[in-house]
Subunit: 193 residues, 2 copies
């Protein structure tokens, strides 16, 4: 065994079962958010991670490129938020770190909750052209999750870089998953576990 084993991240098995049709499209923002909220809901239900889902869609066609769920606890990795997981699955599928590379359609990141400080910073590197959010960060804070040291004008900072930000899509449905999770825990901020 090498001194430093490879890091490996696998989506839970139920994700493949939830998405049997590779040609399915999600035409509206609500369709896309509904899938992402379902990912967050099932992640809690199946005990495979925290109450957060995300996915990368082709912006125009609504075809799913890759889903993501929060895998912080099972992967032993604080970086494995739903958004970063979606990127780590999506980018190798198209063979480049840059979802805005020539020859690719424009892509959109849809997240069940507004990004934490890390995921906010990850968005500009990813090449996505658009970020769509369900629950507000205050909904995550309300159940005890820390969103990190994020600038108050984070959405404007992304817009300034040409990344469209759409908020409050099915916010109540997304926040309901957070509130349910608050009953079953754990809230896993570092240094408090």
């Amino acid at each position: 065994m090498p001194r430093f084993p490879a890091f490996s991240l696998q989506l839970p098995e139920w994700v493949d079962a939830l998405l049997p049709d590779p040609d399915q499209v999600y035409p509206t923002l609500e369709d896309r958010m509904r899938l992402v909220i379902e990912l967050s809901r099932r992640n809690v239900l199946m005990g495979t991670g925290g109450p957060f889902g995300a996915a990368i869609f082709a912006l125009d066609s609504g075809k799913l490129l890759a889903p993501g769920v929060n895998l912080v606890v099972p992967s032993h990795c604080s970086v494995a938020h739903a958004e970063t997981v979606a990127l780590m699955i999506a980018q190798p599928l198209v063979g480049t770190f840059d979802l805005a590379a020539p020859g690719l359609p424009p892509y959109q990141l849809v997240a069940s909750t507004e990004p934490c400080a890390m995921c906010f910073g990850a968005v500009p590197w990813s090449g996505v052209r658009s970020l769509v959010c369900g629950a507000r960060d205050e909904d995550a804070r309300a159940i005890g999750f820390d969103e990190g040291p994020k600038m108050s004008n984070w959405a404007a900072a992304l817009e300034k870089r040409g990344i469209q930000v759409v908020r409050d899509i099915l916010r109540e449905d997304a926040a309901a998953v957070l509130r349910h999770y608050a009953q079953v825990g754990p809230i896993y901020n570092p240094g408090r576990s």
Copy 2:
């Protein structure tokens, strides 16, 4: 093959060869930074990624837990910065996403360049108690790398969360690697490749 293959991240083979002694300790901040700058330098020399190195050390003993190098291009993943790679290798080695978990010694993240917006946001989730930086973010910007939408008082924001920030350790040596890289490229900001 599953529809969504696992994401796998492996350190380049030369890393193991560079670190033959698992018991070696790095007593001073300069010792630790020297290793991290060597990681950044070799990553360029060997063509395995961008000019950034990082590592997690036990804060008091200076024992290396895990190194990291920028693997954005070879891993097809915009998240694979040196700091996040070091975390993705380190945390599974201790079996928890939280480097401040009970029973663990305090850990320190040493980075050859000050963190970008994403890696800044990743630091509070990691459980490290201390962040040590070599080159300044303006040194990275000077060769065309984008550090992202980062708050100007980022170091104070970490200190406020109990994370010590130490800057300018061997800054010139670290910046020299960046300047050398500027000759050999590529500078891989998204949407410009």
